[in-house]
Amino acid sequence: MGESKSEAKIARSISRRDVLRNIAVGAAAGSLLQMIPAKAAELAHEMIQKEKAASPAGKYAPKFFPAHQYQTLLLLCDAILPKDEVSGGAVEAGAPEFIDLLTSENEEYQSILGGGLMWLDNFCTDRYEHPFLSCALEQQKEVLDLIAYRKNADNDATLSQGIAFFAKLRSMTCDGFYTSKIGTEDLKYIGNTALATFPGCPALPE
């Protein structure tokens, strides 16, 4: 965007309210101020990021999941949406924080996800004598390959609770990932900004 130093300084000295006010003025007054709406959304976001950075919490402290379960959650989230050549993984995108926060406030999630993580450890202990976190990598993969496919319940009904748990976690991990900055950029979404005119459709494919 090539924001100059003086503009950054202005951004620090005005509030989000001023920014929104300026959009109205800019759009009504014509060309000279048209650049202000184009900057406004960006400035508003920047201010929120600063407010966030100013809060003392550096590292996220889980509100619901005990440390052991939270570590398991981190592993599962990154397995569901891992880092690839385009973007970072679900953990980097903050999906586990999002999931923990919602779960701390919702009894239904507590039973599906909290209970589901317990189920996973029980399943692994029965099978490998270790909870999921302590299993070897190939054992972890073996378990995920069992509970990530609904059809596996057809052959082994004892998997059905694990499959239901994983389906919920997959969906919530997607929510956490695609509501993050990383996920938004991964999809190449363009917008949430102020335009003087709407350009319409670039060119429709056949």
Binding site: A79, I80, K151, C174, K181, T193
Partner: protein, 567 residues
Amino acid sequence: MTQVIRSPKMYDVCVIGSGAGGGMAAKVLTEGGLTVALLEAGDPVNPDKDYKMFLWPYDLAHRGVGVGGRAAENFGEFLAPNGAWKIDGEPYTSAPGANFQWFRSRIVGGRTNHWGRIALRYSPIDFRSRTRDGIGEDWPIRYEDVAPYYDKVESYIGVFGSKENLSSAPDGVFLPPPKPRCTELVVKKACDRLNIPCIPARLAILTKPLNGRPSCHYCGQCDRGCGTASNFSSSQVLIPPALQTGKLTLIPHAMAREIRVGADGKASGVSYIDKTTLTEKRISARAVVLAASACESARLLLNSKSRLFPDGLANSSGQVGRNLTDSVGSDGEGYFPQMEKMPPHNHDGTGGMHLYIPWWKYARQNDFPRGYHIELGGGREMPGAGMFDDLCGEFEGYGASLKATCRKRYGTTITFSGRGEMVPNPDTLCEIDPEVVDQFGIPVLRFQFKWSEYELRQAKDMQETFRAIVEAVGGRYLTRTQTDGPYPFGIQPGGKIIHEVGTARMGADPKTSVVNGYCQSHDVKNVFVADGGPLVTNPDKNPTLTIMALSWRASEYLLDEAKKGNL
């Protein structure tokens, strides 16, 4: 409640509710020189603080779904404030099997803060449906009576659209429409092949500056409330000019409880609960305009029982609360593989669709009466929670393949929302629950609701049309609906479309209607209903524009009557 606090002031009019109808009444009446007390059950709204324009999901800890994920069912955390299906301490009940859903916004401006801004005129035939097909009732007024007020409302609030000369969707006073989005051009191509019209939508959003309000900046977030008032809301477009007259007293946190009646049989004012102190207060007024929303106004009339009016005020016909309808709603979505090839681009536009499908089969014999329109959505919208729910619902596996699939599928889905006319039936109404009161001690509403064969067949037709459109351009229709159960063909529960109207029906005959053609009570001449209550039919036109046109017309009539000393 130890003591009733009476305001010493006598107002000309007490308006109850500050949404589309009440805001319009307050504006027209104060500009006409009358003093108005405007009661609003909710909080004041502060657009700078309360509207979440330009925020990203990651700017909020809950990413848009709210505490415990529960805001998702109320259209998410970004929605303009204080609208919900359930309000703590203010319940409503449903008769067994009715499952009626009632969305209320306790805030100045009411539901106009977040509404879809779809501003469609009723057509001439919508006022004379019974004459045409023998079902329901005709209106006591005609399109020609309302048309000048449609002109006034559109000119004042700003509506974009295009001249089309379609008899089912009359043209109005339009600002230029925005250019179509890619998804809409794909649908239009399909519609062209099927001989279905697909035309610019008609939304109350400014594409040019109007009356001091700047033009839209195309962030696509109208439902969050607009920081620049470039779309219409009562709170930003109707209340401010009313306040400017110096004749409006806006009273928030005021839950109207009863309309009081004098010995002469006329309304003398309104009792309300001040929510901040839980005390009863009274407003004295020479006339009362109910605009609390169709069902809330019916509740207020039914709760206003007195020796003179034992069945509730303005209810000698017994019709208050009856003839309730919502729009028929059934939704679907299709996957369009050609959209995968679209380069990333800004798809936001105005909040809501740029093209829509008006009712087109009006000249044919259908197996249901009346009609529906189709609203379009989808495409490269701002990513949000729930965007990949459907994909996750059928995806097998995890990892790189899931990420690649989401990336490929993003922006390739187009949604279709059929919105059609429900015909009033005797099993659908609201009434006072004999046992339940809200936290203010006010008896609450109980709903009865039933879809008839008419509406079910209409929903079936919607589903068939959606599929035909999707498949006409090589898409895959994704929606599966049941043919039986309580909600066949994807028909939504009653109330879900938030177009509930008809509970104080207008008519020429006081025995079968509540108000006359000027929204004035037959029984109590200084009581008017200026929300969705008086609407006789609920055609496939979202009711807000008509509510405002009728409110403007009723308010001018009220001004005239006041001048003549008839109130």
